[in-house]
Symmetry: C2
Subunit: 309 residues, 2 copies
């Protein structure tokens, strides 16, 4: 039996995961990120202890996914903005549990879960691209998780792919995530509402969501269509950049925006095919991720298992 | 003993390489790329046979680097524009030699040579970026060559990183190599000569080379400086894209433009540091590649060795 922890800025989700990657039992507590690291670590300790005592099977390893950078030996959180953590020796704080523990980036472990039991299963080179508030991802090459030389793994949302009308939170202009995230969709729709006279039902809404834009684009709404087409164009561009760099066999799309499913995939495949100059030599597959929010818990557990095996 | 072949559009360079990657003996013959593949393969056959007979040691393996795409089992050249080859069963044509043969992309094997005995030695995650007529490269992750899912390896010169005033040969606009190759430097300098009244010694030249631009930028020549600064800005942008995607420990620059050495590195390091939002978490090194033109022969030999070991 394994334990996986998905340490987020809002909740700490933890679960018992079996060797096949099935989530057996799940429990979630609030993170309360503003308190001192020691208190938070104490709660994680208690949570692991509780899960361990809830099963009569031996716990082989514990994996913890965090929204930040982790050092090479998977013991220290180098930085984690959401938790205001810098150089937190998380593994040390949990050592009295007497369990093998591995800490890793949350996007990396989610990609690993998809690779082991989800949408990236069966390929040696697969990439997960998460389209949420930002754009994140995880990379599998030659059947291994890419953790990078400094624990950064991939921050593919910050590839620069063009010039944009607003700057990214990271300080740069033109980052992939400022074109292809839910936030990017909202910002561009709002931009058209404010700077044009184009007709649109979006003008009647108090607050525009990415889902509003995608849904209205199906109804030929002018601003929604223009926003959606721009989103597809740049999403394809970012994906093509990943293809020319790494030549994977499959790319899985996750995050809220991927909920658009086939509507998104069909249009996107055409655009990728159009933009990718090597498309005749590549049969890369574009798919929607399968594990949803549980990928974090499952992936953390499986990374820990494979790290200690 | 190993044999490495660097199969180029102009010359076929071949060499005896020992297990330490030292080039013991080298011979080169003209490619004459316009003739039928069978004739060309016959010449490669003869060349390998000659090299084999020139040493009293046993030849363990033969590696062949080609400027194109190779299938997964390293036997078939899928496409090679310079040779007008498509689906050429190169390994079959050489099987009567009775030697283990591995075929691979030339940029990949050059990067592998740098990783084994050159500028990328000692790091698990290293990337070679070649600044020549175009921009090419090779990627090492977790001590392994990245060959990709379809033999494409990396075509990092075709990452789109902005909008440019001319289109790339591949059909796209904004490819990394249209900003950061020798060709890109020449084109932008010519563009400034033609479209501005800026003073420059470049106006006196019949034909501008990248070296002219770089040399004159040291003398504060206005067009040369503006061209060089733009080159540095976009070279850094492409490199930063690679950093956010793969978080390597070291990047080696090769190709003609890298001949500018420290003059290039010093300015580039500052620009990368400025553009890379994670620079405080990364001590990535930027270096000049070490093996020059022999990297192709040596890398092909070493890839074959490690493939069959």
């Amino acid at each position: 039996m394994l334990i996986g922890i998905d340490l987020g800025g809002t909740n700490i989700a933890a679960g018992l995961v079996n060797d096949e990657g099935e989530l057996i039992f799940k429990k979630s507590i609030p993170t309360m990120a503003d308190r001192p690291a020691e208190e938070l670590i104490k709660d994680i300790y208690m949570l692991i202890d509780e899960l361990r005592n809830s099963t009569d099977q031996e716990v082989e390893a514990v994996g913890i996914g965090i929204p930040g950078l982790v050092n090479k030996d998977m013991s220290v959180v180098l930085t984690c903005a959401n938790l205001h953590w810098n150089h937190v020796r998380l593994m040390d704080g949990l050592k009295n549990l007497g369990l093998p523990i591995a800490i890793d980036n949350d996007a990396n472990v989610a990609a690993y879960a998809e690779y082991k039991i989800g949408s990236l299963k069966g390929v040696a080179n697969g990439i997960m691209v998460t389209l949420g508030t930002g754009v994140g991802g995880g990379i599998i090459i030659d059947d291994r998780e890419v953790r990078g030389g400094h624990g950064i793994g991939t921050e593919l949302g910050h590839m620069i792919i063009g010039d944009n009308f607003y700057d990214c939170n990271c300080g740069s202009n033109g980052c992939f995530e400022t074109f292809a995230s839910a936030t990017a969709i909202i910002k561009y729709a709002e931009h058209l509402v404010e700077t044009t006279e184009l007709p649109s039902k979006l003008r009647e809404l108090d607050k525009i969501t990415a889902k509003d834009v995608i849904d209205l684009s199906k109804e030929e709404d002018v601003i929604a269509c223009e926003t959606y087409e721009r989103f597809i164009k740049y999403l394809a561009r970012g994906i093509v950049n990943v293809l020319v760099l790494l030549d994977p066999e499959r790319i899985a799309l996750g995050g809220g925006v991927s909920g658009a499913g086939d509507y998104l995939l069909e249009r996107l495949k055409k655009e990728v095919d159009k933009q990718y100059f090597l498309s005749e030599f590549s049969d890369v597959e574009l798919v929607i991720s399968e594990l949803g929010n549980d990928a974090g818990i499952i992936g953390a557990a499986l990374v820990a298992k494979d790290h200690y095996n």
